[in-house]
């Protein structure tokens, strides 16, 4: 499902990126936020808030829903994590500094959510918003279907 060479490195890099971004912006990358982000990356795919909660519970007793949701809010607001509304799940952003209007290819078979960027889509969305005199705050584009792996395409 994921093809990073060494997943522990992949997690470590994401955490380091997050720390650097928070430092640069004067934000506090607290222990709770770090642990939540770590679990998001550990899953290497969309993960649900209560699954994060369960996994935290095994390490730290007394973690409650508001704590997890607050951390996810922080991470989402700062572009380190994206919420996938059609799944009620959260996924780490692979390029938090470059992220503009990306979209997800979500495989309903294996569960992978691949984040992609595409200028044609960004352009088309921008143009159509402009034509409607609509001021964009946020764009959610979730494409559900079957990925090449699950289709057996080579």
């Amino acid at each position: 499902m994921h093809n990073c060479t060494t997943h522990s490195d992949c997690i470590a890099e994401a955490l380091q990126r997050a720390e650097d971004i928070c430092d640069a912006r004067g934000l506090r990358f607290t222990d709770v936020r770090r642990k939540v982000l770590e679990l998001v990356w550990q899953s290497h795919g969309p993960i649900k808030a209560y699954d994060i909660l369960d996994q935290l519970d095994q390490r730290i007793a007394s973690i409650k829903p508001p704590t997890v949701y607050r951390a996810l809010d922080f991470l989402t607001e700062n572009g380190l994590v994206h919420k996938i509304n059609s799944l009620n799940a959260f996924v780490g952003c692979g390029h938090p500094l470059k992220h503009r209007e990306c979209y997800f290819l979500i495989c309903s078979d294996c569960g992978e959510a691949k984040e992609c960027c595409n200028l044609d889509i960004v352009d088309a969305v921008a143009k159509t918003s402009w034509r409607n005199q609509f001021e964009i705050k946020n764009v959610t584009l979730e494409i559900t279907g079957e990925c090449s792996d699950c289709r057996g395409v080579h």
Copy 2:
């Protein structure tokens, strides 16, 4: 927020369209389904499942959540209603026969969700899926922001 000339006509037309579509497809447009669709159109914007439930309760006692969700599932599966995942709400489809890949311009101020179609977007989405050898089942595109009315644009 909505600019149909006579809203009762607008609702009646939507119900008639739905009935015709169900007839043509051999589907049963039952009383529950009709009433749910009527309430969706009455709101003339995204409405939540439990708000539908509350309004039905005033007319018919003993309507319970599963009844509403089943009706919404039926209406959604048959393209008469769309779910807006970022709002956990449902909205009537304005063109259930022509509907392909549409998107919503959702005003976070007045709550309007305008359904639009745009071939450039459809194309760009199709192309990028093709490049990823991804087989599309469903596309969700929700653009949140501020509409022209709320921005005071003329």
